[in-house]
Symmetry: C2
Subunit: 339 residues, 2 copies
DNA sequence: GACGTCGACTGAACCGGATAAGTGAGCACA
DNA sequence: TGTGCTCACTTATCCGGTTCAGTCGACGTC
């Protein structure tokens, strides 16, 4: 089956290619009657302008790129990315933008992907995840002048716009809540220590613990997998002064931690309180259900996509704050038994 | 920063655009010395051919499309899609193909997306997931002659190639295993009943139960969410003749079922054995760890991507079988207590 | 030495749109 | 009646590649 081109529409309408182009793009230069006739014919024969041809002259690819730099193993585990993508998609498809996805091995590969996309004019802009300190992607994107929106922050985004949530505030609120319950020995199991958002949470944790005089606060790091979360929990619970509450950087590690606690004969929340960051349906499936910090991830993605589209349209965009995660107390947190 | 074009390379090399094109594409028509000089210059100035221009003349988009038709809520829950995507990606990026992703609301929207991609020449082929009986996408893709590979089956794929796994065999093996343990009342909690792969499993379940004379076998359906899985389990366990073993169509529902059983005072595996389809790290995190049917999903995706690339290259492709899911017995299955 | 052949390369057409410049009809107005 | 202006188009050019038809010099051959 042959794809209809603008010439086919023009022929059937008895006008020139130029007239069809004006009609379809809502430009002046054709009468309303002709415009309507052309639109009808275009719909009839199922015509959509070739993205390639349009890109070549118009210079807009109508596509946005997203490169994910995580091992396949952890990508699947976390609902975060898939939810983010569905939110991004909702916004993009409403404006007929396509999403080009690429899974990369490391930052170097990601930078190479950006350069290629740029040279090939494949995307109009990119979304950047998992920012690191001194991220090489930021200067690269600035150099290429490729519109970009960083998902995460605040800080370290150079001249790029970002959409961020106040994780520091959410973390402080959570620690305060645990302290209000009577906990004094609180531990944190963080995600990948290279990631900026892990560091932001680390700093917030240090700050709030110092402020509240929690001298026994400890933090360990992991890679978001259940295995690592379990190992970290075992280490924490085996220490002489074991914590009475643990705050995990994702739900999978929290569930793993819950299992470890139970396997070590500790009751949750009696002997140990557990809080998960990222509230997913899983948190409500386990016993006891997990107290969790949750927020609307698809909305976060949609927000970022809107910012990126604005940046692509040439509108001035700055960093904007998304909603802060909300703490949902469930059965996994309570006052420590041996208060 | 200006993007380098083929003309820039040609000028610096002192040759014509045509010569550069031949050199870069490995075509005859240039001497080895010139080819080498051109390649060096291209690398130097960071030249990549514009995908638009290449697409316009060469008619290949160097991109494949994947439309996902699931509510955002269930997309994130299941690691399946993200793992599939990472497998697909691994194969595509090795050959510099891009993956265009679109999340759609329903089958009608998905068909519209295919038509648009085709008319816009945005993709060279598509991967099709979640086949249904009498799927409208199949005749549409046949009509458009858009290369496509169906992920799933067997059957109902018309003239399209597919990559499929023998779920029927895996299911039969699992039921036989449960029967060997001594179970006679076995239930199945299926996924979305409209999906072909649910029906294939349904039929296999019916067949094996008939063959083994399990008259009390029952099946109910769900939407893959933990909530629905929990509800289905409650219904099953509340019936007069409650099952002694339940087989779930995904891991999230199985974990929800485990919770429900424990909340109803049943011990697992003493009173109830549980098997999950799709083995994820989660299955090992709960107590008891879940017996699960697992397979290598990224490899499955890579397999499908290879088939699609072959189809795009014009090679004759037929339906091929991927590996069958393997049963990993863990703590959630045992002989029924009141045998 | 005329001729055919081959390799290495050039020039131009083409893909399908967007868009600037040009054209001609119709109309208002002096 | 002629001028100027607007409207509704057409024509031509351009975007950056691929590719086909030439061109041109070197070489081998009889």
């Amino acid at each position: 089956m042959k794809r209809p081109t603008i010439a086919d529409v023009a022929r059937r309408a008895g006008v020139s290619k130029g007239a069809v182009s004006y009609a379809l793009n809502g430009q002046p230069g054709v009468s309303e009657a002709t415009r309507h006739r052309i639109l009808t014919i275009a719909a009839e024969i199922g015509y959509s302008p070739s993205s390639a041809a349009r890109m070549l002259s118009g210079a807009t690819a109508n596509a946005v790129g997203l490169a994910l730099c995580r091992p396949a193993r952890t990508l699947g585990i976390e609902p975060f990315f898939m939810e983010l993508i569905s939110g991004v998609e909702a916004e993009l498809s409403a404006r007929s933008y396509a999403l080009t996805l690429q899974v990369v091995a490391d930052q170097e590969a990601e930078v190479a992907v950006y350069r290629r996309w740029w040279a090939e004019r494949r995307v109009d802009g990119v979304l950047v995840c998992d920012l690191r300190t001194d991220d090489r992607r930021v200067p690269t994107l600035e150099e290429l002048q490729l519109p970009a929106v960083v998902i995460g922050g605040p800080g370290h985004t150079g001249s790029l716009a970002s959409v961020w949530a106040d994780d520091a505030a959410a973390l402080a609120e959570t620690v305060e809540y645990l302290v209000a319950l009577g906990h004094r020995r609180i531990a944190r199991v963080g995600g990948l220590p290279d990631l900026l958002h892990t560091q932001i949470r680390d700093n917030a944790f240090d700050a709030v613990c110092r402020r509240l005089g929690l001298v026994d606060a400890t933090a360990v790091w992991s890679d978001y997998t259940g295995e690592e979360g379990a190992r970290a929990t075992r280490r924490l619970l085996s220490s002489a002064q074991r914590p009475t509450a643990v705050l995990y950087d994702n739900d999978v590690m929290a569930i793993a931690g819950l299992s470890v606690a139970q396997e070590m004969g500790l009751t949750v929340p009696g002997d140990l309180s557990i809080v998960a960051w990222d509230d997913s349906p899983l948190c409500q499936l386990v016993h006891p259900p997990l107290t969790a910090l949750g927020r609307d991830i698809p909305a976060y993605g949609a927000h970022a996509a809107r910012q990126l589209l604005a940046a692509i349209a040439g509108e001035p965009v700055t960093s904007v704050q998304d909603e802060t995660a909300r703490l949902t107390p469930r059965g996994s947190t309570a006052p420590p038994r041996n208060r």
